[in-house]
């Protein structure tokens, strides 16, 4: 009895055990050839490893694009190509503006600091209200 009890404790219940999902895909002959070639190039022996690595790469691409980062390849000569992949564009934020450097004089920085640190902002002008209402 005690042995049986111990065995029961060590064996996780079906609820605790991580479930493995089977993944089956119908590939066109050309896609199948691509998968085989990629597996060979990447020295991957199983479809599971292939899928696992592809998933890691896709997950990284999605997370980068979600942050608004562009995915770029750069050649040895510095030529850059931006990856534009429609499905990835769906996860990109609606609006990400690129960054620019602005040159400031010492006096401009003083003036900017005063304006930005004001306890209250100026009230909006009629034109600004109209601009945001139109």
């Amino acid at each position: 009895m005690p042995l049986k009890n111990r065995k029961k404790r060590l064996d996780p219940s079906p609820v605790d055990r991580p479930r493995k999902t089977k993944f089956q895909a119908d590939l066109a002959p050309a896609e199948d050839r691509t998968v085989r070639l990629l597996k060979q190039e990447l020295q991957l022996s199983s479809n599971t490893d292939f899928l696992s690595d592809a998933l890691a790469l896709f997950r990284w691409a999605v997370s980068e694009r979600k942050l608004g980062h562009r995915i770029v390849s750069e050649s040895a000569s510095g030529e850059r190509k931006v990856l534009v992949f429609p499905r990835l564009e769906r996860v990109a934020p609606d609006l990400v503006l690129p960054r620019a450097e602005i040159q400031w004089t010492e006096r401009e920085l003083e003036s900017l600091a005063k304006l930005a640190s004001a306890a209250e902002a100026d009230p909006p002008t009629d034109a600004l209200i109209r601009a945001l209402r139109d």
Partner: protein
């Protein structure tokens, strides 16, 4: 004329754009697309007529920037957050002179404000900055831009609009 404002696209016709200012024309014709898509240093938005949706009638360019806290003179940093000051740069705004007087400038800056508010919601931003030609200062002032004193030389006037002011305007 039904005006649509959207992101600049590669096939947009920009060669005939003429706002009367060569640097602004040249930027749209030569640099706006590559700066947007290749270098990612500014996004341009164009106004087009729905009837001729490839002909650019006006445009503006936006970019994000920031000022490191350490760059501010020490006696002025009190009251500023303990981080870089994030801001949006309204880098360019121009209307083709054949379409001046039809409210395109107002439509463009209105869209620039709306985009800035959305950007500020997504990534945080404190103000909009623009470098206005001297003869256009009063036009920007109408929207609440105030001059930032201390520009070197007699070039464009740097101007400031607080995002808090824009948020108040939204509630009206």
């Amino acid at each position: 004329m039904a005006i649509l404002i959207r992101r600049l696209e590669e096939l947009d016709q920009v060669e005939n754009f003429d706002c009367g200012d060569e640097p602004l024309n040249n930027y749209l014709r030569r640099h706006a697309w590559s700066n947007q898509e290749k270098s990612s240093i500014g996004v341009s938005y164009v106004a087009v007529d729905e009837g001729a949706p490839r002909t650019v009638l006006g445009y503006f360019t936006l970019a994000m920037s920031s000022v490191p806290r350490a760059a501010f003179p020490k006696k002025y940093v009190r009251g500023l957050p303990a981080y870089e000051l994030p801001l949006i740069l309204l880098a360019r705004l121009a209307v083709d002179r054949r379409f001046v007087g039809r409210g395109l400038g107002h439509a463009l800056i209105s869209e620039a404000f709306r985009i800035s508010l959305r950007a500020a919601d997504e990534v945080g931003c404190r103000c909009i900055i623009t470098d206005a030609y001297r003869e256009r200062i009063s036009w920007y002032a109408r929207y609440g831009f105030v001059p930032i004193e201390g520009a070197a030389g007699s070039g464009p006037q740097r101007m400031f609009l607080d995002l808090r002011t824009m948020r108040v305007a939204l509630r009206h």
